[in-house]
């Protein structure tokens, strides 16, 4: 692959807002999907001839289907409260990475084609007709949004740029201008069953290998069951957990928790992926199709519960959307929420004494936690609002003797995206991924210097992949990044009480 140019920003002390640098990221473009990626998803293989009209027609359709889009395109007052909230703006200074300016890329077109004001006095409100240049701006900047919704948290009206970037990607897909990274991956889910294209025999092989490894390391026959009919729990986890580092250590952790709890569980080769990139491209039908695999696997394997592994956007789709997309789940055991997060199980097991952790196993570490954007701002893990923050912290504090939180402006609901979410975790976007990680790395550096933090736990496959890749650019070791259940895996006491 050609070497992609990048620059690494100098870290600042929080909170620093850069001066605007117009055009700083205007040339950064992720690879465009070709027909082989587009057509299996039902999208045109290349940019259609009458794309201007087609895009306007699609926008009109979405305006009728999504209240968010309808209201958010009208109501922004350009107050600027969001302008210093996006990690991509903070890292790059490109003003089109300010949430409001990113939205305006669509709002200008909306005003021109859909509002009386835009039609009568377009210049006053900035209404603009389609040009090829504007379409290119859409493509580049709507793929520099990780849909993390930090802007929406701080907007006085809750305007959600993610909703707008999802709609923009949906419109672009519908006129034949899709993104290779997302659409190729969605194709793999449909064809092979998971984002990474890991076929069933390889999966079987991997899981058998893990069983041997754990047996060798611990002397306990911890199982990694696949396609076991009649198991109680269907466990769905991002496919990166099957081999990437530190993801796979997290998978070992889940397996040890299930083993020690004595729960009968299984993974599915048919639904061997928790991720759902249908969300990133804003396409309800794709998102639904991908989600239905999990329903079908649950029915096929006759399970009673569904549990998800560590993955941010997957947990958003699972927690917030699965019931809409693939429900109702009345065939499952009504005593458990559908679906559950592995953190809920682990926390519950620690509280009930079903598993015991010896935190001295992690005594060599000072641990902090990166709240994943989708988990933080779109979900819960338990009955209480905020459990998405408390449960991981409870588990981490049980597994690690030394735990330190990062700055309040960079944690919990104010957390910064890792810089690689929302369909940006692709090599050609490395420049914006490095820059987008800047606010997180600044907060991390702060606790490293103040409290001697050595490791950062993460509960998302994308965050883990992104950080292991970009932390070295800032002078930190990729080994700092840990799965939450990797730390659990180190500390859990096997045998005895099962």
């Amino acid at each position: 692959m050609a070497k992609v140019p990048y620059t690494v920003p100098t870290l600042d002390v929080l909170p620093t807002v850069p001066s605007i640098k117009p055009g700083a990221m205007s040339e950064l473009k992720s690879y465009v999907a070709v027909a082989a990626h587009q057509e299996p998803l039902g999208f045109p293989g290349e940019l259609v001839a009458n794309w201007e009209q087609a895009a306007v027609a699609k926008m009109g359709e979405l305006l009728g289907k999504y209240k968010s889009l309808r209201v958010y395109l009208d109501m922004c007052v350009k107050c600027g409260a969001c302008t210093d909230k996006c990690h991509y703006f903070l890292g790059s200074g490109d003003p089109k990475n300010m949430p409001v300016a990113r939205q305006d890329l669509m709002r200008d077109i909306y005003r021109y084609y859909f509002t009386p004001t835009g039609k009568v006095m377009g210049a006053l409100v900035g209404a603009k007709p389609w040009t090829r240049e504007r379409l290119d701006d859409w493509y580049n900047y709507f793929h520099q949004c990780s849909q993390c919704r930090r802007c929406s948290l701080f907007c006085p009206y809750g305007i959600d740029t993610a909703e707008i970037s999802m709609a923009a990607r949906e419109i672009m897909d519908s006129i034949g201008l899709g993104q290779k990274y997302c659409n190729e991956i969605i194709g793999k889910v449909h064809k092979i069953g998971n984002n990474l294209g890991l076929p069933e025999p390889a999966l079987v092989n991997t899981l058998e290998g893990l069983e041997e490894d754990v047996l060798d390391a611990t002397g306990h026959a911890v199982k990694f069951p696949l396609d076991v009919e009649g198991a109680d729990v269907l466990f769905v986890t991002p496919s990166a957990d099957f081999f990437a580092e530190p993801h796979v250590d997290g998978l070992i952790g889940y397996a040890k928790v299930f083993h020690q709890m004595g729960l009968s569980w299984t993974m599915s080769s048919y639904a061997s992926e928790a991720g759902n990139f249908g969300m990133f491209i804003g396409n309800y039908e794709q998102m639904r199709k991908i989600a239905m695999r999990i329903r079908e696997a649950a029915i096929q394997l006759k399970v009673k519960r569904i549990v998800f592994g560590e993955c941010g956007h997957a947990w958003r789709v699972a927690y917030a959307f699965l019931n809409s997309l693939a429900g109702p789940f009345d065939f499952l055991d009504p005593r458990y929420p559908v679906p559950q997060h592995i953190m809920e199980l682990t926390r519950g097991a620690i509280l009930s004494g079903a598993i015991k952790l010896d935190s001295s196993a992690n005594a060599d570490k000072v641990v902090t936690v990166h709240d994943s954007c989708n988990i933080a701002r779109a979900t819960r893990m338990g009955p209480e609002p905020g459990s998405q923050f408390e449960y991981p912290r409870f588990v981490l504090q049980a597994a690690c003797p030394k735990f330190v939180d990062m700055h309040p402006d960079a944690t919990r609901e104010r957390t910064f995206c890792c810089g690689g979410g929302g369909g940006l975790l692709t090599d050609e976007l490395i420049d914006i991924r490095i820059k987008g990680a800047k606010p997180r790395v600044e907060a991390l550096r702060d606790v490293v210097e103040q409290h001697g933090v050595t490791h950062m736990a993460s509960m998302c496959a994308i965050c883990k992949s992104q950080f292991t890749k970009v932390l070295p650019y800032y002078g930190y070791d990729m080994g700092m990044v840990q799965s939450v259940h990797q730390l659990v895996s180190n500390a859990i006491l096997l045998g005895g009480n099962s």
């Binding site: 350009k78 409001v100 809750g158 429900g327 933080a376 609901e413």
Partner: protein
Amino acid sequence: MTGLSVFYAALLYVSAAVLVAGLAFKIRQYWTTPAPLKIAVTPAPTTQVGAYVRVAREAALFESLFYSNRWLWIFAMAFHAGLALVLVRHLRYFINPVPDLLALIQPLGVYGGMAMVGGLLVLLLRRFVIDRVRYITRPSDILMLLLLIGIGVSGFGMKFLNHTDVVAVKAFIMGLYVFDIRELPAEPPLLAHLFMVALLMIVFPFSKLLHAPGVFFSPTRNQADDPREKRHLAAWAAKLEG
């Protein structure tokens, strides 16, 4: 009856009609457009009542803005709260007889006007001074602030410089209720004031002023965080289940 009075009566009828019809159209549109997925920004209330309280706090206290940008919150609050007091003060021109309570809080309106214009001036200034805000500012954003400042300043003109015959103004307005066009005092500040208010009413449903009704329809704020407990399904999405 002068041509001027007829012109202003017509202007106010038209602008009020545009405001009401335009807002009714937009509110109906917002109301009826489905929200197919649960997208509340969390942590969020888990009950619908809780979500309504969250929206009420946003509308009344600008809660998110408070945590987002304290300075902006102060001046936005000065403007909006000031405007609210001014509107209350103006009720006496629309209600007969004037209730005692209204008469009592009447003097506050003047301070409200000062807060409003002061807040607006700062909001205008920051559009030129802060580079990020300058970048996102469109001509309409400036014009909207100038229009509101113009309304405030012309109002002060009547209060402090060119005292208007408010009794005659009230008679004119009460006349409008019964389609009886009475004489409007031909005072320049009053005419400017009313003209700009009419313009604001006309522009309202076509502009970013739609944030006023819109804030109540924002799914990230008005939805309860209960997707695991209750199945949420839009009509168009249900059709996909075939």
